[in-house]
Amino acid sequence: MVQDWRIVTLFIGSILVLGAIIGGPLVYAIMLSFYSAKSFVGELQWVGLANYAKAIQDPLFWHSFANGLMIALSAIFLQVVLGVGIALVLNRKFFGQSVVRAVSILPYFLPTVVACLIAQWILDPNYGLLKSLLSSLGIGIADWSSHAFTARGTIVLVSVWLWTPFVVTCVLAGLQTIPTQLYEAARVDGAGPWRQFWHITLPGLRSVLVVVILLRGIWMFNKFDLIWLLTKGGPLNQTETLPTLAYRKSFLEFNLGGGAAVATISFLILAGVMLIYLRLFPIDDTKQER
C-alpha cells in the first residue's frame, strides 16, 4: 500500500512537471494563436480564428506543408532502407564487428549544428572540400543552395547521415529477438536469403519498424534546426516547412499570433496523421493479428 502511495506521488509529480514544461507552453501557444500580437511585450488583441483563416488561405502555408511532407518522406524512406540494410550487415559475424557497430552509430552523437557546419564546409561552392576535389578533376561544382532540388536533397542527405544510425540501432536490437531456429527451418525448406528476409526478418521487425517510422516521422516533420541551419527555408521558400514558417512569422516578422496558428495547425495535422498511422499499424502485434 505504501508502495502504491509512492507510485501515485511520483506519477502525479511527473504529470505536474510535464504539465509545467510542456503543457504550459503548449496552452500558451494555442492561446496566442487567437490573438494579434506584434511582440512579446505588446498588448494582445483578441482576433478569434482570424489567424487560422489567414494561415490556411496563405499559399505559402500549403507550400511549406508539402515541402515538409516531401522532405520527411524522402528522409524516412532512405533512413529506413539504409538502416535495415546496414543492420543486416552488422548482424552477421565478421572480424571487427564490435568496432564497426560502434563506429556506425557515431554520426548520431553529432550535434545537429556540428553536422550542418561540416556539410556546409564540404559543400561550400567557393572554399568547400568537394569543390577542391572536383576542381582537381577538372569538374565544376553547382551552387547547391540556389536550386530547389539540390537544397532539399542536401537537407535529406544530412538528415540521413545523422539519423540512419538510430534506425540501425533499433533494427539491430530487433534482429536479436528473431529466433535463429526460424532461419534454420527456412533453409531446410529451401528458402533463399530474399525469402528469408521477406517472410522471417521483415515480419520479425514489424513492431520495431512501426515505432521507428512513427518516431522518425514525428521528428522529421517537426525538424527545424537542420533546415534553418542549412537553408533558412530558401531558396525562394523551396525548403520552407511548417516549423520554419512558424519561426519566421513569430521571431522574424514578430507576428506571434500568425506563427502560433501555423504551429498549432501543424501540431493538429501531425497528431491526426499519427492517430491514423497507429490505427493502421498498431504497435501491439496481438491487435494487428485481431
Binding site: V41, I141, K232, L252
Partner: protein
Amino acid sequence: MGIYIPGGKKAGTGLFGLTRRSFLASSAAIIGTGLAAPAVRAQSGVTLRFLNNETSAASQAALKNACDAYEAKTGVKIIIDSSPISGSMEKAMAAINAGQPYDLMTASFIATVLEFVHAGVLVPLTDMVKRYDWGRGAAWDYEGENWYYPFDYNLVMNYYRKDLYADKGLKVPETSDQFLENCRALTVLDGSNVDVGGCVVPLASDSATNWAAFGNMFAEGVELFDGEWNVALDQGENADRAARFLDLYAELYKTMPPGMNTVSFAQLMSLFATGKSAHTLYSGRLVEALEATNPELADKYGVFASPGSSGQKALSYAFDGFCVFKTPQSEEALKFLQWFVDEHYVEWLLSAWMNNHPSRMDIYEDERWKSHPMIQKHWDTMMTMKSFIESDDVVIKAIDTSGPAIDIRPCTVFNANVMPEMLQQKVLGNAASADCVTAAAQRIRSLI
C-alpha cells in the same frame, strides 16, 4: 542561572564573564545584524543589468573597463550580458516578461527600438541626445522623442581593389553601367564557373541582404512608400526604377561567385579578404578585418558609394545606439549612460575603430579619437565616410527607414524579407523584373 559549558563548569557569570542575559542579547544582535545586512547593502548599492550586442573582445573589454570604473566611483555595480545581435530582442523581451528587465541595452535595429517604444518600456533620451550635433539622420526621433543614444553609422560602402583597378586600367565608377563593366572586367572564370567574382551582393532572406543589397536601388531613386504611407514601389516611375535596379542586379549576379543565396555578414567580408571577389559591400568593419587577416590588402582597398544609372550615389545604412529601459532603476541607468557618454564614449568607439563610424560630429575633432593609429592610417577612408554623412549629394537610405518618417511599417518589410525575396524571384526564379516588383509591392500591402 549560569550558562552550561559542556565539559566546563556551571557558572553564574559564565565563561568569559558572560551572563545568560548578555549572551542572548549578543546573539540576537548578531543574528539581527546578519538578517538586516542584505537590506542595508541593497540601500547602499545599486546593480544595473546591461544587454550588450557588441560582442567583439575589444568592445566587451572597453565596456567592462567603463563599468568597473563607474562602480569604483559610485558603488553602482553593472552586470554586462554580452549576447550576439541575433536574438537579442527576444532576450530583452523575455527578460521583461520574466519581471527582470535589463536596465540598458545596445540596439542595432530600428524595429527593436520601435517595438519597445510601442510597449512603453523605454525611457526617452531626448535631452541627452540634443546636447550634441549629429550626422544626417542619426538622431532620429519618434513621437517627438529620441529613444536611443546613437554611437555609430553602419554605412554600406562598395569596397574595391585599387591594385586590380590599376592592373585593368579601371576608374571608380560614376554610374551603375560603369560599375557593371568594372565587375565584368574583374571577373575570373574557371570554365563556366566564376572563380573570382567581380562583386558580391547578398541574396539570402536575412538582415545582411536587407542591409547591404539595396544601395544601387536607392541610387535609382526607388521609394517603397509615398508621403502618405501608400505603397509606391510599383507605382509610376518608381516601378520602372525598381525594374531597372533588378535588371542591373541580374547582370551583376552573373559576375558573382556562387553561393550568394547563403552569403551573410561574415562571408561578405571573407570573400573580399581572401581575394575571392574584387568588390564587396560592408561597413568600416571590413577594414578592421583586413588589418587582422590580410594586412597587405588593407593598403590596397578603396571605397565608393553605390551609383545609379544617372550618376546619383546612395548608401544603405544601419545605426547602433544605447537604450534605457523603464525599471525602478531608470534614474541610475540614465546617470550611468550620461557618465559613460561623457567619459568613455571615445574609448568605446575606438574599441571598433573603423566600424564605430561616429555619428556624433564633435568626435571628429576629438584628439583622443583622431590620434588612434588605425584611424590615422585609414584617415582618408574615414574622411570619405564622414563626407557621406555630411553631404546631401549622397542619398542615405535603408529598407527599415523608408517612408516619410521613422515608422514600424518599413521595419515590417525588413523583417519579412520582402526585398531579398524580390531579388531571389529575379535571379533564382528567372521572373520578369516588372513582375518581381509587382509581387513585392503586393506583399508589402498585405503586411502593413
